[in-house]
Symmetry: C2
Amino acid sequence: MDVGRLRALLELARGGTMAAAAEALFLTPSAISQQIAQLEDEAGVKLTERIGRRVRLTAAGNALVRHAERVMAVLDEARSELAELRHEIAGE
Amino acid sequence: MDVGRLRALLELARGGTMAAAAEALFLTPSAISQQIAQLEDEAGVKLTERIGRRVRLTAAGNALVRHAERVMAVLDEARSELAELRHEIAGE
DNA sequence: TAAAAATACTCCATAGGTATTTTAT
DNA sequence: ATAAAATACCTATGGAGTATTTTTA
């Protein structure tokens, strides 16, 4: 359940191809493919299915996407709050 | 904002010493110390302060703990849901 | 046959361990 | 003098890249 891998899944959901996800994350399609495979390994369920040349998420994949979005939101909040605290400290 | 590092922070908050956190995570105190240092580096704020032989969290540290707890909760939910989906599939 | 994904293999970065030094009681 | 944390250094694992093979439109 690594954050980097969840991010890969999110980008894959967004773009629909390994190549698009790779570009968005400044990685190669190979790296994305491996990260998704690792997530599927941890999850013990298929998260994706190849539908022709594209990749479609399974029900489990979509479920995980929803959780991943929440994780990212919480991390964003954390970063924001830390940034505020950082500036408070700097300003006194 | 790696999940492993956030877990280290949580255990440090819980136990109050690097040693206790290390034991809880089956790591060495050195590893915990490094993970906390890395978190502080990312955050740009001190998260801990040595108070004698123990370690106490700063305000920023406590703030991050709250976010980390939420992250862990979301990940737990994700794992639960995936487990359910896995069993559904196995059962049909 | 072209375009994308998956796989095999290699290399390097980094996470963690051991050993040591520093800090505090 | 003891107990804990921090630091330095080393090694092994894993993540990403390149090259290749497989799949499908």
